[in-house]
């Protein structure tokens, strides 16, 4: 393999690789705004300046193919001068509104300003300002903060699949906006906030909710569909604030879809049932306590029983349910369920060319591997237990199959609980750890991010009380 020398280190590279790629692979930090490994190289921001021996001009590492024997310096005086001049240029029109900007704390411009910029400004002229257009329900634009890196334009073109964002006007007046000022249509708009190196594009949902440095992070797997995109769950004070994608080249690359990104909202929702409830004397649902609710559930589960296992549960939970049913609810029919219309793994198809799958639950493929069959909605039963992790369909018309009591174990919401007789509140993906299997058959572990909300308990705890 050919070798180049970066900062005195001899590094191997594949022919065709750019210097920035070689540096990234070997832990040499080169600052950048416009370069993103998923997008075309445009060499616009000029931040990734490097000095190459025998080349008179400063080069941009993102557009410089590595050659055998090339000697590159990333920290020389010439490079530092170039980087600080780029920072000065970018900051002359950037508002100093970090204190009210959602990006603060995780802002590339802020970080680089600290690392490569100057604490003073020589700029005394008027700052450029723009009037912002509405970009739809997902993304909030603040063009004054924009540094024109065009990552968003290239993301829409090259990843999102269609041209939605454009640069208007030219020179100093260049404005990054949507085509004809229309709201964004892509199902992947949230990624724009992730790749934007400043606070120019931020999430409407996250706006003014939390300073980023207060957030604690847990590695997790998105439960929004059978793709199993890798995410981080960000929480503070036991409240989940957002999902952020984690890079996984085999599954989701750098991205997640909007549906998955905002699929955390039910965790801390007011409508979520987090106390055990039972249907009392007056046929009304009433808050109970754990021992009496479990006793009620146990006494009412009789005769020929139907056990429905949400395929939004982890492998560990499904195995526990299988063992429990075999032991305690003899003769019951056990099925998995999840997305309406999808009863077996082969029903799960790609919903678009990027990530989304038609199975809107995370563990359809795992449930099937564990030997469960999908429920087709038929059969007559005397009682039923429904296990649900939060994403599977809320079964509200079970009465047509079940003559007796219906018990729900897991995550249920108002007003769906009106169709149940007992609810034993369980845990969402954010409150537990476990394993799910995505459509490719990859087993992935997700980690607990917050403590159980209210009186919610794990499936295993419910079973312990039951026996």
């Amino acid at each position: 393999m050919p070798k180049c020398i970066i900062d005195g280190k001899e590094l191997e590279f594949k022919p065709g690789e750019m210097v920035i790629q070689v540096a990234d692979r070997n832990g040499v930090e080169i600052p950048r705004f416009c370069y993103h490994p998923a997008l075309t190289v445009v060499a616009q921001c000029r931040m990734c300046a490097v000095e190459v021996e025998k080349m008179p001009k400063i080069q941009t590492a993102c557009s410089l193919p590595a050659t055998d024997g090339m000697i590159v310096h990333t920290k020389s005086a010439k490079v530092k001068a170039a980087q600080s001049s780029v920072m000065e240029f970018l900051l002359i029109n950037h508002p100093l509104d970090c204190p009210i900007c959602d990006e603060a704390g995780e802002c590339t411009l802020q970080d680089y300003s600290f690392a490569y910029g100057s604490p003073d400004s020589r700029y005394e002229e008027h700052r450029r300002t723009y009037i912002d257009l509405d970009m739809g329900p997902v993304i909030k634009k603040n063009m004054n903060r924009c540094i024109h890196c065009t990552r968003c334009i290239r993301f829409c073109d090259e990843v999102g699949g269609f041209r939605e964002m454009v640069a208007l006007k030219r020179g100093n007046h260049t404005e990054i906006t949507t085509v004809d000022g229309k709201p964004l249509e892509t199902e992947y708009a949230g990624n724009l906030a992730d790749i934007c190196p400043t606070g120019s594009l931020t999430l409407v949902d996250f706006r003014f909710k939390k300073r980023s440095w207060f957030l604690k992070k847990a590695n997790s797997v998105c439960q929004g569909c059978a793709q199993g995109c890798n995410i981080e769950v960000h929480q503070d004070n036991n409240t989940v604030y957002r999902h952020v994608p984690r890079e996984n080249q085999d599954i989701n690359k750098w991205w997640i879809c909007d549906e998955g990104r905002f699929s955390f909202q039910f965790v801390n929702a007011e409508t979520r049932v987090t106390e055990p409830v039972v249907r009392g004397e007056g046929k009304k649902i009433e808050i109970s306590d754990w021992p009496s609710a479990v006793a009620e559930a146990k006494s009412k589960t009789k005769g020929k029983a139907l056990v429905l296992v949400g395929n939004d549960l982890s492998n560990e939970e499904i195995r526990a349910i299988q063992a429990f049913t075999a032991d305690k609810i003899k003769g019951a029919d056990v099925f998995h369920y999840g997305t309406p219309g999808i009863t077996k793994a082969s029903d799960d198809k790609a919903e678009d060319k990027i990530l989304r799958r038609t199975s809107k639950t995370s563990n359809l493929h795992g449930a099937e591997k564990l030997g469960l069959k999908g429920w087709d909605g038929s059969g007559k039963y005397e009682s039923a237990i429904v296990f649900r992790g939060g994403r599977a369909a809320e079964l509200t018309d079970l009465r047509k199959n079940v003559s007796g009591a219906i018990v729900g174990v897991g995550v249920f919401n108002q007003p769906a609980i009106d169709s149940y007789d007992v609810i034993l509140p369980g845990l969402t993906y954010a409150e537990k750890s476990g394993t799910v299997v995505n459509w490719q058959g990859k087993e992935q572990k997700f980690n607990k991010a917050i403590e159980p909300v209210g009186q919610s308990r794990a499936v295993a705890d419910v079973f312990a009380l039951w026996s």
Binding site: S85, N93, R128, R170, N172
Partner: protein
């Protein structure tokens, strides 16, 4: 004046028809000759001529042509850069007005040499009349069998189109031009790949200036060696069109052998000196992008290398003469406004820096300058110079650096006096 190559037809017949070109010139004889040669031989002849690109960079044309890969899976293209957007330059317009066929013949020969069957003339949007003349000339050439299928029975096919720009300076930069030609935003591309490898529509592409191409028929007719013999310096053959504008008595286009005239001779002997008997202050020698020369720096041969040695450039030979009635600050403010206005906005130093320079110059001209402004301008210009994606950054920074260095006293007078001394 030496034998005129390009300006031979100037000011004789507007939109000279094919018949006129045949009667008064050699009328596509060069094309006939070229088609009888092998493409490689045509390139070799052009290489021999030491013809350098007339658009501004002065790159040897024959060498550029030889960069085109012989075999290509995608179509190759030849594009004529008729954007002529450099302030002070108006030679290409004269060629397109008075002898469009010279340029078209040169283009067809170029297409044959590099193996391109499609060719575009990218003409600046403001040249409405010239675009019409070219369309008419193309029609004539098609009718006479010089374009289309099986040209002159040689089996070589070539189609040519006129594409009008929409008024952006940056579309005169070859990759910006190609983007615009493809219907995209007129923004320069990252190089490499260079157009000779991946240009228009992804195919290997040669972009040549109008004047460069208009020289090709003469080279084929008279031989590369005869062309190379012209001119004072060994590596630069033929003649050049010098566009003189500004405060001279006889502005216009002058053709001389490369380097055989000095700037002083051109201004005082040929252009009749400075108008109204005033004194010369400055000369911008190669289009507004070229660093300025002061009145005492005129004894330079007008060719690529001597100009480079003098710290400026021959560029597109757009020579702008400024007399002492003009304020240097006002002049550079006007030039900087142009570059700030024409910056495409892609890369940071040019987008932010050109406008910053303009604002500071505006302040100085208005009498609100500060002593620190001169150092600031030099710094900002140096931070643009050589650090941008395309040459527009250098074009904007070079003039500022040279004006501040050479006319420092005028800037200081503005700052100290709190107003323009001429106002």
């Amino acid at each position: 004046m030496a034998e005129m190559i390009v300006s031979k037809f100037f000011y004789k017949k507007e939109a000279a028809p094919l018949e006129y070109y045949k009667k008064n010139g050699n009328g596509y004889a060069a094309l006939k000759k070229a088609l009888a040669m092998k493409p490689d031989e045509v390139i070799a002849e052009v290489k021999k001529s030491n013809l350098r690109g007339r658009g501004g960079a002065g790159f040897p044309t024959g060498m550029k042509w030889s960069f085109i890969p012989k075999e290509s899976k995608v179509p190759k293209y030849l594009v004529c850069n008729a954007d002529e957007s450099e302030p002070g330059t108006f030679k290409d317009r004269a060629i397109m007005t008075y002898s469009p066929h010279t340029m078209i013949e040169g283009m067809i020969i170029g297409c044959y040499a590099i193996g391109a069957n499609k060719s575009y003339i990218y003409i600046r949007g403001e040249y409405v009349r010239e675009a019409e003349y070219l369309e008419k000339a193309l029609e004539e050439a098609y009718a006479a069998g010089m374009l289309g299928k099986n040209i002159m029975g040689s089996g070589f096919d070539c189609d040519m189109y006129v594409h009008r720009g929409a008024g952006a300076y940056i579309c005169g930069e070859e990759t910006g031009l190609l983007n615009s030609l493809e219907g995209k935003r007129g923004e320069p591309r990252v190089k490499p790949p260079f157009p000779a490898i991946k240009g228009a529509f992804g195919g290997p592409t040669i972009v040549n200036n109008v004047e460069t191409l208009a020289n090709i028929p003469w080279i084929l007719n008279n031989g590369g060696e005869a062309f190379a013999k012209m001119g004072k310096y060994p590596n630069s053959g033929g003649t050049r069109l010098y566009c003189v504008s500004g405060h001279v008595n006889k502005p216009g286009i002058y053709e001389f052998e490369c380097g055989k005239v000095t700037l002083r001779e051109l201004i005082y002997d040929h252009c009749g000196g400075i108008r109204n008997g005033r004194k010369l202050k400055a000369v911008i020698p190669g289009g507004s992008s070229a660093p300025v020369l002061a009145a005492h720096e005129l004894d330079i041969d007008l060719d690529v290398e001597p100009m480079m040695k003098a710290g400026t450039m021959l560029g597109s030979c757009g020579i702008i003469v400024i007399d002492d009635s003009w304020c240097a600050v006002k002049a550079i403010k006007r030039i900087t406004h142009f570059y700030a206005h024409e910056s495409c906005g892609q890369c940071t130093p040019c987008r932010e820096g050109t406008r910053w320079l303009e604002d500071v110059l505006h302040r100085i001209e208005d009498g609100h300058g500060k002593e620190a402004d001169l150092g600031l301008m030099l710094d900002v210009a140096n931070n643009i110079n050589g650090k941008t994606l395309c040459a527009l950054g250098d074009a904007a920074a070079g003039p500022v650096l040279s004006f501040v260095q050479k006319f420092k006293h005028e800037f200081e007078e503005h700052i100290k006096g709190g107003k323009c001394p001429n106002a």
